[in-house]
């Protein structure tokens, strides 16, 4: 398979800043061993030969790249708004393509079946038409005006509500979603999925949140998100083929999958194919 191609020059999360130690932690990025450590009080990442890799410390996580990133890591401006609680959810390893992990995050149609009675429930399964675009100025995929009926949209939600969503793909293995925030009408809660590609079929997923919720315990916020993500894990580990098919024909999308269709198209356009399958096997 590919050596990473255009994806080598992108930024990836490789650990939580809070958990760094001087001794360091051995992990992997796109098939290559790396070590993430604290050196003189700052995060450092080295590859298998001891070469220092570029580092960014942002959103509570350490980011690095095996290649030469042309752009700075994306930003999430909402994270800096006062009053938000920033939540490091912790790592979860999944035997799946990093791209499949992101695609699942962009999907709402599975809520009634995989997150039953929390993010969705039968018979409220219909996905209404929404808008999707690839924004050329920022080179991101955006889905807006997404709506879905949810029995318990968030830790802070009481009873069923129709939740509004926006989705944003800001890097090949990173996505941010914005959803209605029950305690603060007019604002959006921010939930991000940062995916570290270990190999093409194995990834470490680092969910991250910036929420308006003054009441819930931090532990409850963490556990709500861990619950949701681990419900997805058994699906992600059982999709065939493991690699995300980028060519039409191998899988059959519907109108509800417009975000996924745009994501696949955007990946293909950029040659972001680490974890993808290009020609139907």
């Amino acid at each position: 398979m590919s050596e990473g191609g255009a994806m080598r020059d992108q930024w990836y999360p490789v650990g939580m800043t809070k958990q760094l130690t001087a001794q360091g932690r051995d992990t992997m990025l796109m098939g290559e061993p790396i070590r993430v450590a604290l050196a003189g009080g700052a995060p450092s990442v080295t590859d298998g030969t001891g070469r220092a890799l570029p580092v960014i410390d942002r959103f509570g996580h350490v980011w690095t790249s095996l290649g030469q990133p042309e752009k700075d890591l994306f930003t999430i401006p909402e994270v800096d708004q006062p009053g938000r609680r920033l939540v490091d959810v912790g790592v979860c390893r999944v035997r799946c393509s990093p791209l499949r992990a992101v695609e699942n995050f962009l999907d709402i149609a599975h809520f009634p079946f995989v997150h039953t009675d929390i993010l969705g429930s039968e018979p409220h399964t219909e996905v209404a038409r929404y808008e999707v675009e690839i924004r050329d100025d920022v080179d991101e995929v955006w889905a807006t005006k997404v709506k879905f009926f949810q029995p318990q949209a968030a830790k802070s939600a009481e009873g069923g509500i129709t939740t509004d969503y926006m989705y944003r793909v800001c890097a090949p293995t990173c996505s941010v979603l914005y959803k209605t925030c029950p305690p603060k009408p007019g604002e959006w809660d921010v939930i991000a999925l940062f995916v570290q590609p270990l190999t093409e079929t194995l990834c470490d997923v680092w969910p991250y949140m910036a929420l308006y919720d003054d009441d819930a315990e931090m532990t409850d916020l963490i556990h709500f998100q861990q619950m949701i993500f681990v419900q997805d894990r058994s699906v992600l580990e059982n999709q065939l083929p493991a690699l995300l098919p980028l060519d039409p024909g191998r899988e059959i999308p519907t109108r509800a999958d417009m975000t996924s269709i745009a994501y696949r198209r955007w990946l293909k356009r950029h040659g972001f194919t680490y974890g993808a399958q290009l020609v139907a096997a």
């Binding site: 149609a109 079946f113 399964t125 059982n238 065939l240 899988e251 059959i252 519907t254 109108r255």
Partner: protein, 231 residues
Amino acid sequence: MGMMGAACSDPCASAPTPDTGDTVPTDWTPAALSDDIPVASAAPGQLGPHDLAIWRSASGRIAAWADRCPHRGMRLSHGFVRGERLSCIYHGWGYGEGGQCVRIPAHPELTPPEAIRVPVFSVAEASGVIWVAEEAPDGPPPEFPGVVAFRSLQVSAAPEALAAALGGTGTVIETVLGGAQVVALIQPLRGGAAGLHLLAPEGSDPAALDALSAEVEALRRRVEAAEEMTA
């Protein structure tokens, strides 16, 4: 990705996908025991290189389909059976007779296009065994008078090694095990493993069957230990 109305499809998507060089059996292959897949349930199975979802409808109809949802590739054997349909656990797409998609919950009003169809395999039941095949074989699967389905086990050893340990060759072996006259059906599995579907004398009492069960577990230990030695 092109879209056809609300749902889009490509007939190529529904062709079974041979992805290894393994030889595909041409005749019936035993895949499970009938009692192990009761009404309104689904289970995973294998046929050569193919993963199968074997399921039984509420009315008792057995089916063997490709274990891959045409939508986003989720294994259908993880799905759920309501009435005469198998639904995928991921987005709930429902499939009926012949593998035809009949319901897409995200678009409840939509009649799914004919082209959304799960590849279907031939399946038949005989002597309490579920047999599968890629193309419909000429005749029905074999019947074994005097014995009934007993247990299915997986053995981490080559089918040939398992057959030899049972004192035979091939995939259908009639032999004596733990003092009982049994029929052993051997199913080649991927990764150099074998499925063993065992039929025991009709009317055996539970204690005799416990002894047979212990005997076959012991046989599995011996075969696997020998396999490990040669590995």
